[in-house]
Point group: C2
Chain length 290, copies 2
């Protein structure tokens, strides 16, 4: 595995690999890798000759009150996991290389990014879109893999990729969960034992919504109430939002007729966790002749 720190070396390497006819896969991450990230590497691996994992804690997607400084870091451990997972290139640029002094250009998405986490974290998706555009231009992937856990991010990046015509196929990797259902996240390491137990309310709330939906409920309000009841049962939990939105437009829906995304963000103590589920009516299965 090759470790690249230099922005220009990464781009020259990607150009040379492309010139040699290689198909390039890319998995953008902020490091402190867990099995969820490694499942994205496996998806990239299946779809490309050379897999680059990018490890960059992007300062521009953190708000001033957020956890940039304390975001967990362990480069040696991450590099070991990448090696074991068959990553070919670990691209870990330093921030001074990524953002030139006086950088003044940004990529924005102005529809999908306004609600949900975008409402709670102004500037977040501008930071995400900008750094992803930069990583696309540096790593020149044919395919890039993002986790479905970051539901809004995935949709914003898909939209941005389409709107700006980046020649990159976006692949979504399903959310990986701990044995008890908690969605894997680097931020889970912030939780103490008690918070860790209480954090299960996110998944329990989503399961309850899915259960009601499967039982035929199509109105958003009762799903939301049922979820709120579960979240607020945890004393350490503070609701950021529960959103029930159209899966394509991310506009709030009152009834779940088309595929709907239920996304939520909850503070457990000081730690902000997110999770989501997409609910869609099962297609009517045609009778199969015996």
């Amino acid at each position: 595995m090759r470790i690249i720190r230099s922005v220009s070396e990464m781009q020259q390497t990607a150009l040379a690999l492309r010139a040699a006819g290689k198909r390039l896969g890319c998995v953008p991450t902020m490091g402190f890798l867990h099995a969820g990230h490694l499942s994205l590497v496996a998806l990239a691996r299946e779809r490309s000759d050379v897999v680059t994992l990018t490890l960059f804690i992007n300062p521009t997607q953190f708000g001033p009150q957020e956890d940039l400084a304390k975001y967990p870091r362990d480069f040696e451990r991450d590099a070991g996991l990448c090696r074991d997972a068959g990553v070919d290139i670990l691209f870990a640029p330093v921030a001074a290389e990524m953002y030139a002094a006086g950088a003044s250009s940004y990529v924005t998405e102005e529809k999908l990014s306004t609600g949900l986490c975008g409402a709670a974290r102004p500037g977040h998706f501008r930071g995400v879109c900008t750094v992803v555009a930069k990583l696309f231009n540096l790593c020149l992937p044919h395919v890039a893999v993002f986790g479905a856990k970051d539901a809004q991010q995935l949709r914003v990046i898909r939209r941005m990729t389409r709107d700006l015509n980046f020649p990159v196929a976006i692949v979504a990797g399903p959310t990986l969960r701990e044995a008890d259902g908690l969605a894997m996240s680097s931020r889970n390491t912030y939780l103490n034992a008690d918070e860790r137990r209480q954090a299960l309310v996110l998944k329990r709330a989503l399961d309850e919504a899915a259960h009601l939906f499967d039982a035929g409920e199509r109105a958003a309000a009762p799903l939301k109430s049922a979820m709120e009841k579960i979240i607020t049962s945890a004393p350490a939990a503070k609701m950021d939002y529960i959103a029930i939105v159209d899966d394509e437009t991310l506009a709030p829906v009152e009834r779940l007729e088309r595929p709907a995304l239920i996304a939520l963000a909850v503070f457990i103590g000081q730690t902000r966790l997110i999770d989501n589920v997409v609910l869609r009516s099962s297609p009517v299965t045609p009778k199969v002749r015996p």
Copy 2:
């Protein structure tokens, strides 16, 4: 010469050419070509194997009160000029292909684009940056050539290309002028005979500034007054702006110690014309031994 109308065909063609090891040059234009554009083609030709000229009157860079509807168009003439100039691919997408319904992603530059034409034309450079980013992703050029006549645009695009790490070398083509000094522009066709004569005040004002500078004047204010005097001598002229700015930061300067850009925009009748000059002190020539 191949004419491409489809966005996906352009990108597939560019990918195939790159895979075949070709070096790609690109000249983005809004059509109604003149000798200035063709000089950019020649610069692209020198630097690449395959030259694509893009012809797209980009609606997002026109303000609601501007001349989008009446912007001059003559596709057959343009195609003929491209053929004669040795353009390999004429990429002329239709707007509905370039902007998907519901497009919501933009590229912005927030420092260099705020003054000068950016102040007079809000949203203009967002439109320019967005379409140039899209054209880069569709045409995948190694080198792209822009005219120095659009001084601020050139600097904004250079900055955007650097900040977002596009693997594209930006080359500037010098301003071409009519025999009497008027900078070539597709918009010159708007001028009637009388306006055409009066339009010479732009170049005369820049020449006067350069003359004063060469005579040792380094204060911006007297240069500006001298230019204003010349511009206002033309009855059809209405000043938009005269800017004397640092050539790198585009911040206004009071003294021209470092290379300075003098840019101006003037309405001649209904037609908004721009022109510019860069003034820099001649380096002290070391004495050459006989």
